[in-house]
Structure formats: C-alpha cells, structure tokens
Symmetry: C2
Subunit: 207 residues, 2 copies
C-alpha cells in the first residue's frame, strides 16, 4: 500500500495542503496509519518517514490526532463534493445516480489507502472532530437519499426502503477502498462503470 | 464495540475454542485488536483483559500472530460454511442466492467486531497463514460465483459480468461489519432480508 501512487488525478497527492512540509507529513501519516494502524504509529514515525525531525512536525501539527483529523476532513470533503456535483447536474435521477456512483467509486479506488484510514480510524478521532466528521457523513448520505427519492417520485425507480437502499449503495461504494488492488485487473474507472450499472439495478431503474 | 454481546446464536461466543482459558483469551484478543489495532496490542494487554498472566497466555498461544490467525481462521471457516450450506440446498438459484446472502449478512452483523478484525488485519498475518486465509477467501468467492453462474445458465439471472458482480455482492455483504450498529434500528435479520432483495436485483433475477 502506498499513497505515493495515489494522485487523485492531480499531479501531487494532497496538493491542497500547504506548505510543502505540511503536505509531506500528511502523506507520511496516511502511509504509517495504513501500515500499522493509528494507535501503533507515533509522531516520531511520521516525521521520520517524511525525512523531518519531530520538532519540525510540531510546527505544522500539534498532535497525532490533528493529522488524522486533517486526513479525514479532506477525504470526507472531497467525497461529499463529488456526490454534490453529480447530484446538482441536469439529467434524470438515473443519470445523476450513475454519475455520482462512478465518481465516488473511482475516487475510493484511486485513493484506497487514504479511504481505508479515513473509514477504519473513525473511532480514534477526538470527540469534537468525530462529531464534525459524522455530520459530513450525514450530508453524504442525504445527497444519495435525495437522488434516490427524486427517482422514486419521478417513477424512474422502484425502491421499497429508501434509507436502507441508500445505506447499502454507499456501503458498496466505500468498501471498494478495502478490496481495490492497484495491481489488479480492473481500473478505477472500470469499477466505477460496473458499479453504476449495479446500483441502477438496486434501485430498480427502468431500462 | 464488544464481542461480549456477539453470541452468533450460540450461548457462548467462540464456543468451539477449548479449553475455556483459550476461549477467553481469544475473546479478549478480538476486543483488543478491534479497539487499538493489531500492532498497538501486546500479548500482555490480551492476557490482562482475560484476567490472566502473560505466562498463562503462552500456554495456549505462542505469539500474538497465532491469536490473530485463530480468529481469522475460525471466522473464515464459519463464513464459508454458511455460504456452502446455502449453495448446497435444493431450490432455484434465486432461492439459494437469497439464502446465502441472508445468512452471510446476518453473521457479519451479529459478529461485526470479529469480522472487522478479520477483514482489516489481513496484512498482519504471517506469510504462511495469509496464504491459507487467501485460499479460503477464494473458495468463498467461488461458491457465490457458482450460484450466480447457475442462475445465468438457467435463464433466471441476467449478469453481464459474473466475476465483477460476485466481487460486488461479497463486498456489499462484508461491509455490513463496518457500519452495523447493535444499538441501531435494524436487526441482523432485517439487514439480511433487505440485502437478499438488493442482491437479487443486482443479478437481474426474474420476478
């Protein structure tokens, strides 16, 4: 597992984080958390991976939890933005849902190391930060529920249990981060296309 | 998260593990790995949780990795048995697939703490043990692929990509362990029933 290859379509991973030292520390933290888990990682480990001293780390991040929070916040913000962009487009509910699933899934495949850390270390966040992240996750859920609800009201979809189906659709997409293998036979885009079709089946979209 | 409530329909969790001291240590290890991660947990932590001395632990398990392997092996054996039992029943492919999904999902919901450890700490297994567990996972995959293939051949299902759909179905079911909340509004059986319906939609089962 390496975030070095996770470019998210940008030339530099975590390009939104500045200055450069803060960005390198974040990349190092994702790698360390993914390999050994949050609790087994020290700020010294992270500084070492980034080729920096522990004192240099503290200039940018006061605690290990602050690093995890930044990773989690940026990851959740990006995932929510992808879904909101798809939801806000013109088109039928089926087109918007397929678009949302394709972009959400490709992102989870491309950024699978980051996404794993974000998903598996949620309990390690401090109380205040966890509340903030849970609120972002509720918004993510609401975007997908709204598209599915639109489709039901328009007679495009047949969904007996909208909240349950929303949960299942997001779960299916998020779990791509667990099993995706960059050396495997499917590209992130191919998984996105397959999943868009499967999700349209789950909501009973009219062909 | 607590395995104390994970009874798997038996009166005692991990009832297949004897003697009692070995069983208690396994329950303690699942709890510790789930809370802090494998790498941040020591055999001393595990012994302490079980109310035993480190020396008493070594009578039953030589290393921390041996504990993880036992947990992973029992979990994978159980999951495979559930699927093989459903696959081997009389009935249409749709009936067998729905049965397989219901029992696999209920198990992942009821035993969510164990299932998380099994899924998230796969990389921490030693090489020989990882090869063994990967082989069990291939068999799990093959069981589901066979049911789906039977349905396609019988004209019951419409599945353009059988390996991809098999992967997605298993992924959907496994991820229940990540989000399932024993205090939430859905029981393991309710999630199993919802998911059986969603999976029949994914394979385009004729109504």
């Amino acid at each position: 597992m390496s975030t070095a290859e996770e470019t998210d379509g940008d030339s530099t991973p975590w390009g939104e984080v500045t200055p450069e030292a803060a960005r390198r520390l974040l990349v190092a933290a994702v790698e360390a958390f993914a390999e050994r888990g949050y609790h087994a990682t020290t700020t010294r480990d992270i500084a070492g991976r980034a080729g920096m001293s522990p004192a240099a780390l503290y200039i940018h991040y006061k605690t290990k939890e602050e690093l995890l929070h930044r990773i989690s916040r940026i990851g959740h913000d990006r995932a929510l933005l992808l879904l909101e962009t798809a939801a806000g487009r013109d088109g039928t509910a089926a087109e918007r849902l397929a678009d949302a699933v394709r972009s959400f899934v490709s992102w989870h495949a491309e950024r699978h190391t980051t996404a794993r850390v974000v998903q598996y270390e949620l309990e390690a966040l401090g109380d205040e930060h966890r509340v903030e992240i849970v609120a972002l996750r509720r918004r993510t859920d609401a975007v997908v529920r709204r598209i599915i609800g639109d489709g039901v009201r328009a007679g495009e979809f047949d969904v007996p249990d909208v909240p349950g189906t929303t949960l299942a659709v997001l779960s299916l997409c998020i779990d791509v981060a667990r099993w995706f293998n960059a050396q495997g036979s499917r590209t992130p885009e191919e998984v996105g296309t397959l999943y868009a079709d499967l999700v349209l089946r789950m909501v009973g979209a009219r062909k």
